[in-house]
């Protein structure tokens, strides 16, 4: 397998230890998929050498949304209200475009109450890594169906789900998202390069990660259970992330791989595993998701990639400096300008 990540060392590129990226001890259930994802976020931030002080981590409400407390303690964190993390993240990235944002949400938080905000943050292309910890259930309120619960899914207290599942990757693509990936909390090898690539993407990068709820939705017949996903996972590619500072050194069979260059010059190298999928082809991406739905498989990997859209800050024609840090002179026009305006209103 191609490993293009930083060689393990005690300190990373910016001289920090992995422990500088950790968070508080988790209070989630033992075995909860969400905790594996937090572990990968820590690992990836460490390996990428992200400066934690420059990262903001945001969430809504839910077990998943508690996660930001469990990684990157040196980053500012914000736990918003249920389903509305996207708007808060948008505001923060308007205030300071030089931050790196990661949002963590749940399937209920994003797919039920938050669907509108999810679609609209993508439309605006607010730069952030948007992780959905998708367990097909409301964990924190004890096991009701969410919008991503599969049709026919059974739950202990709530019986059968009668409604079709929202496919958040499909939703992201049709809303114009330029980075859409799906993965599985039980597959850190895939989660990590995808997360890294997402951090290199200058726009909204959506990662829909199936993250089993061991307490309320881990029966093998649930398509969000560890067992089901292991049986039905169909990874598109073997993915490696090549940071901007490194060369692609690993040998690949020609024709078998595709390198995708990110905004900051980093690359991800995709080695074909099954079928043919060009993640830069939007129509193909949509068709892939449609087929996965009808075939009842879980296609994972980088599903769609398009670096061409402007971010919200560029669309709004904003200065490169953080608005939050503008000096007073930039905030308040000089006295004479007001005098002119006053004169014009007389």
């Amino acid at each position: 397998m191609a490993t293009a990540t930083v060689a393990p060392s005690k300190l990373n590129l910016i001289g920090l230890d992995k422990s500088d990226y950790k968070g508080n001890p988790s209070t989630l259930c033992a075995g909860c998929g969400h905790d594996s994802i937090s572990a990968q976020i820590i690992q990836v931030a460490f390996e990428l050498g992200l400066k934690p002080e420059n990262v903001i981590k945001l969430s809504g409400i839910g077990c998943s949304s508690k996660s930001p407390a469990y990684f990157l303690n040196r980053s500012h964190g914000l736990n918003a209200v249920h389903g509305r993390m996207p708007s808060v993240a948008s505001g923060a990235m308007l205030a300071n475009r030089n931050l790196t944002a990661i949002g963590v949400s749940g399937d209920g938080d994003t797919g039920s109450i938050g669907l509108g905000q999810f679609k609209h943050i993508i439309r605006r292309n607010v730069p952030m890594v948007y992780v959905i910890e998708n367990n097909g259930v409301y964990g924190l309120t004890k096991g009701q169906f969410s919008a991503t619960s599969d049709e026919g899914q059974k739950l202990k207290y709530y019986g059968d789900n009668e409604y079709p599942a929202v496919d958040l990757c499909m939703e992201a693509i049709v809303s114009g998202c330029g980075f859409v990936a799906r993965s599985f909390a039980g597959d850190p090898k895939q989660v990590r390069p995808l997360l890294k690539a997402a951090f290199s993407f200058n726009g909204t990068a959506v990662l829909d990660i199936i993250s089993p709820c061991v307490t309320f939705n881990n029966n093998p017949d649930s398509n969000k259970s560890y067992e089901w996903v292991r049986d039905h996972d169909s990874p598109l590619h073997d993915i490696s992330f090549v940071p901007v500072r490194e060369e692609i050194t690993v040998d690949y069979e020609p024709g078998e791989t595709k390198a995708v260059t990110m905004h900051d010059g980093a690359k991800i190298v995709l080695k074909k595993l099954a079928g043919e999928h060009d993640p830069t082809d939007r129509m193909a991406a949509i068709m892939l998701l449609e087929r996965s739905r009808t075939d009842n498989v879980l296609t994972t990997g980088l599903i769609y990639y398009n670096p061409d859209r402007d971010t919200v800050q560029d669309s709004e024609g904003m200065v490169a400096t953080a608005l939050a840090l503008l000096p007073d002179e930039k905030l308040r026009p000089v006295r004479s300008t007001l005098e002119k305006i006053v004169a014009s209103l007389c």
Binding site: D20, P52, E53, N54, I56, L58, P68, A69, N73, R74, S75, H76, G77, L78, N79, A80, V81, R84, P86, S87, V88, A89, S90, G91, A92, M93, L94, A95, N96, N98, L99, G116, Q117, H120, R124, V312, Q313, E316, G317, M318, V319, A320, A322, L323, A324, L325, L326, D328, K330, L331, R332, P333, R335, T337, L338, E339, I341, V342, L345, C346
Partner: protein, 609 residues
Amino acid sequence: MSVIQSKVADILAGGNLGEVVNDFSLQIASANGSGSQTSNMVLVRALFRMGIPVSGKNLFPSNIQGLPTWYTIRCSHAGYVARQPSAPVVVLMNPETAIKDLAGLESGGVCFYPDDLKIDLSRQDVTYYPMPVKQLTSVPEVPRHLRTYIGNMVYVGVLAQVLKIEMSALEAALDWQFGGRTKLVNANLPTIKAAYEWAAANITKRDQYRVERMNATAGYMLVDGNAAGGLGSVYGGMTVTAWYPITPSTSLADEMSAFASTLRRDPDGKANYAIVQAEDELAAIGMVLGAGWAGARSMTTTSGPGISLMQEFLGFGYYAEIPAVIWDIQRVGPSTGMPTRVSQGDLFACYYASHGDTKHICLLPGSVNECFEFGWRSLDIAEQYQTPVFVLSDLDLGMNQWMTKPFEYPTEPINRGKVLTAEQVEKNGFRRYADIDGDGIAYRTLPGTNHPRASYFTRGSGHDADARYTEEPEKYRGNLERLRRKIELSREHLPAPVVEMTAGAKIGIIGFGSTDPAIIEARDTLTASGVQTSYLRIRALPSAASVVDFVRSHERVYVVEINADGQLRLILQSDMPELAARLRPVCMLDGMPFTAAWIIGQINSQEQK
């Protein structure tokens, strides 16, 4: 025929033929979207340019085209600018409402109408002036598709002639209205002049109303509150605005955009701010809070329905202590109510916003000048107290034309509140919710602060002084109490009440916002009739202790407000239970700005009890 009838009416009206100069209201009835707005604005500004105190109020429907709208212009040599119960001069440009408009005209009034208007003009007690609207616009100079619109210039010319508005003032006003764009001026001016001359040649003045140059508007400007608020925010260093269109708040965002786009750009054209149209009010306030948290001077503008939608986030902002400014340009509620009519009915929804125990700082501008001032000041207060701050304006203040002294350049430097730098964190450490200074206001850091101990976790759930999650009763309670203290201690630091004490007065009046002119006028009249009153205008909630003193100094205090329940009165009563019974309601909601007469009637009838 109608001319003869008018003459008869004229004579019959008799008695009141004495002149009325610079002291009457004029109402133009038209259909929405017909273009009369330009004409009306030109008339207002022309009067203003003649040095006559003037105000203009647009009574418009929730509709884009076709429904009735009435524009009222009041000129008052005494400087009164409140609405009057009726207008003795009317212009009937809307056939649909003409019958009713005419019926509502007071005896001795004056009626201008297009000469092809087909309604019964048999009323004998008013003066009629027909206007040749069709004739003057069916000329080759007026392009066919503009004829309805330009038709509105006819009444400008005729009114000018009959009421003695100076042509030079009209020309200047027209020029102002079109921002000096000669082409547009030239498309309109000839019709005004033609009408002016037609009237000179064809109309014999038979009514009492006219205007006359004064010198009472020098050093004043004419502007609406939303433009003022938008401009004030630009000078206040607003950096992020997220908003969602809603009448009557939209023009605040629009005006702010227009001002910011010239005043707040770098030489390369890049903006030193972002004004983003959100997908709804929930997203707007979410963005505003996210931005405020990350260090922007952030704000939104909305109206009642938006305030309702924002409730959950407002509680979050209060509890997580995030600066934000929320303008509420109030309109008639509840629900959609009357979106184009004035109200002061959102005090509860703002002051107590969200479930749980909250109390939010509210600024209550009473003039367009204060809209400007609170525009910049609100951003300071929000950062100073790290909390959502409301500015409650209303449709009358926000969308109508008001005279004002020039806006004063901010008298205080920008206040960013208690924000720690990396160096300060290094030196003194950082405890996000600790009450270091005893004023309830803790220090914060901004995301991105380059220090490993600068971060903290912001949440709407229970947290201790170090921003750590907690469910411990005493910690939760302690934090809530600090929050309460913080807001409580703001009382004496917010814009202070404006008080006019009258020695020996037993009656006090308390008001706020756009009712100020009506209250001023009412007090003058009351004084003239021997009723002495003091007056206190509240400019912020929670209100200063001086309000309690004011109430204590009067036997009865009337609280004037445009809402059904007397929301300010109830809020004040909660501050002074022992004086609660002294506070009496003068409140009502029908969508119309108060008149002095109505206030007087209310006070007099309650006094008689």
